[in-house]
């Protein structure tokens, strides 16, 4: 058998870089890896935190995946998630009930969709690249969040810039609640949406059209797919999913929105979608892996390894997997 040496070298180089980064900050790598595993999946409390993190990662991962299917890079999931969470917390604060919770989820979805819409329109009708427009929308979204959290939506009773906490009546209910482990319904909601999307993509004409536009826009145009429409609505749907992720974070877990709330989940969504490759169902295990790495490296702060490691890890994983994927694609040609 012919071994893919080129790709084995790349994997080893990535691993060596991670090793070097750990040594440079004064950690013993095997110890750090062991701690990461224990602190992400080693204890019931660790599982609780990991699954909390998995919810937004799955939502933004699916968001990026949907856009990617239409050949679009949605780098804006971060801003869409933030705007979605702000809309959601505003509604949940105004209507503190189970009905308010439902409305708050809708508000998150709508806000996220609206924040992605300009990128879809600019791409479809003006030819402006979506990567640039979504990055600009991120910065504007973050400035908007900064203003709302420092001013109109700020809880004046608290020193840090945060909104007030929502009423317990608007929480998303727990499915398991045996502390130290607990889990709320939100992860199940996003998982079901992922499965539903996978089925839709495979079985419906619209789903086929979406994949066709992504794979070969010219062929799609000649076979009658409305190229511009697909571009606009797939970008909007992508924003809606990221906004949903923000809403679920607010209602299920955080119960408030504060500065830095989105915590890079939007950017990680790109990695989640990449790692999943071509299969929508694979977004679920991919989000889980990212949650493990994210939770693991977050908790390394407790053994004096500062934040930043997960950026290195996730960035390198994205690159290595994209290289393997590129190899598979060239073999098919």
């Amino acid at each position: 058998m012919h071994l893919p040496w080129k790709h084995i070298w790349l994997t080893l180089a990535a691993f060596a870089l991670i090793w070097l980064a750990l040594v440079a900050v004064g950690a013993y790598p095997p110890e750090a890896f062991r701690e990461m595993i224990i602190r992400s999946v080693g204890k019931p409390a660790a599982w609780r935190e990991t699954l909390f993190q998995m919810t937004p990662l799955l939502a933004t991962g699916l968001a990026v995946f949907v856009a990617l299917r239409a050949g679009l890079f949605n780098i804006g999931a971060e801003g869409q998630l933030m705007v979605g969470s702000l809309a959601s917390v505003a509604v949940a604060l105004a209507i503190p009930s189970a009905f308010g919770m439902i409305l708050a989820i809708v508000a998150g979805i709508v806000a996220g969709a609206l924040w992605a819409l300009p990128a879809g329109l600019i791409k479809a009708y003006r030819g402006g690249h979506e990567v640039i427009s979504t990055i600009m929308l991120n910065s504007i979204g973050m400035a908007l969040a900064g203003w709302l959290l420092a001013g109109p939506m700020r809880n004046k009773l608290q020193e840090s810039t945060t909104t007030a906490a929502i009423d317990e009546a608007a929480y998303i209910p727990h499915v398991v609640d045996q502390m130290p482990f607990r889990m709320n319904l939100s992860l199940i909601i996003v998982t079901l949406i992922t499965v539903g999307f996978a089925y839709w993509l495979k079985r419906s004409v619209k789903g086929y059209e979406l994949s066709l536009v992504g794979k070969n826009p010219i062929a799609a145009k000649f076979s009658g797919a409305a190229l511009k429409k697909v571009t606009v609505w797939s970008m909007t749907a992508s924003g809606a999913l990221a906004g949903l992720g923000g809403a679920l974070m607010v209602l299920g877990d955080e119960h408030r929105v504060y500065m830095g709330f989105s915590g890079g989940y939007g950017f990680d969504g790109l990695g989640v979608a990449m790692l999943a490759g071509g299969s929508p169902i694979a977004v679920v295990p991919s989000a889980f892996l990212f949650a493990v790495i994210s939770q693991g490296s977050d908790s390394l702060a407790q053994i004096q390894i500062p934040k930043g490691l997960n950026g290195v890890l996730l960035g390198l994983i994205i690159i290595v997997f994209a290289a393997y994927r590129a190899k598979k694609e060239t073999h098919h040609d």
Binding site: L121, I122, I318
Partner: protein, 284 residues
């Protein structure tokens, strides 16, 4: 008022310096066919190295060499990924950005050289922004008037045909990404030179703004320079107008902060369609 105007104009020149250098880096890379989302990461890596070496050795020359070296190495890694491994250009760029942001954040909290309050030894900012204007002219001449420049355009426009004409697209792209690295290195060193200290994520998305300027400039050096000046102007305006009431209304500082980004977005919506991207952008 004229004093204010002068001040805004001066800070426009200063603030657009890093954008111009990075946009020129993007120009070389994208004209050869490599989409360069990684400008941001290259600038950040260079800024971190400039401060580290400047603080360690006290020599601005070594600091500059270090910054250029770091950005060129990242550029060559980018070239290996996109040209040897055929990794998607946007994905490899985002991956590099995430890794570099993570690594420099990690270093900022652990390396003592990055934590001193004293400013590291780096050449003054004026040196870098003067370079920015000189190099913009040089890049425009190089691309339009020299054989190397024409090869660059040919490879970016139609890699297959240029291969048939005897050019080696992969080799030219390696060179272009090395040049892009040098330019991003200057840009990062300029950003580091303004304070002499390193702060995590101190490039603050300016690599992306530079890329937007490049696109608005239609992948041409002088129009891209003008677009960078425009973004620099909005940034300068932001600094001047912040905290000043307009027509008696106190506007929040976040409104001014989002001004350059909103300007980029609107410009993209209004003008992007008229500009033609290099036809071979992103192709193997």
């Amino acid at each position: 008022m004229t004093n204010d105007m002068m001040q805004v104009l001066m800070s426009t020149v200063v603030l657009s310096g890093p954008l111009i250098l990075a946009a020129l880096g993007g120009l070389f890379s994208e004209r050869s066919g490599v989409i360069n989302i990684a400008l941001e990461g290259k600038m950040l890596g260079a800024a971190c190295t400039a401060v580290f070496i400047g603080a360690q050795t006290g020599s601005p020359l070594l600091s500059l060499i270090g910054a250029l070296g770091a950005a060129v190495i990242i550029g060559l890694i980018h070239a290996v990924l996109t040209q040897v491994y055929n990794v998607d250009h946007i994905i490899s760029g985002m991956g590099l950005n995430a890794s570099i942001l993570g690594a420099t954040t990690l270093f900022a909290k652990t390396l003592p050289q990055l934590q001193t309050d004293e400013a590291a030894a780096i050449f003054p900012s004026s040196f870098f922004w003067t370079m920015a204007f000189v190099l913009a002219g040089a890049a425009a001449l190089y691309i339009a008037r020299t054989r190397g420049g024409l090869h660059l355009l040919a490879v970016g426009n139609d890699p297959d045909k240029s291969r048939q004409m005897g050019l080696n697209p992969v080799k030219i792209r390696f060179k272009s990404l090395a040049v892009a690295g040098l330019l991003c290195g200057l840009s990062g060193a300029l950003i580091a030179s303004t304070s002499g200290n390193f702060v995590p994520n101190m490039t603050d998305g300016r690599g992306y703004i530079a890329l937007a300027a490049l696109i608005l400039g239609g992948w041409r050096a002088i129009p891209a320079l003008l677009a960078c000046l425009l973004f620099g102007f909005f940034h300068a305006l932001e600094l001047m107008l912040q905290g000043q009431p307009i027509l008696g209304v106190d506007l929040p500082p976040e409104l001014w902060q989002s001004l350059p980004y909103a300007a980029a977005l609107i410009a993209l919506a209004l003008f992007a369609g008229h500009n033609k991207a290099p036809a071979g952008l992103g192709r193997p």
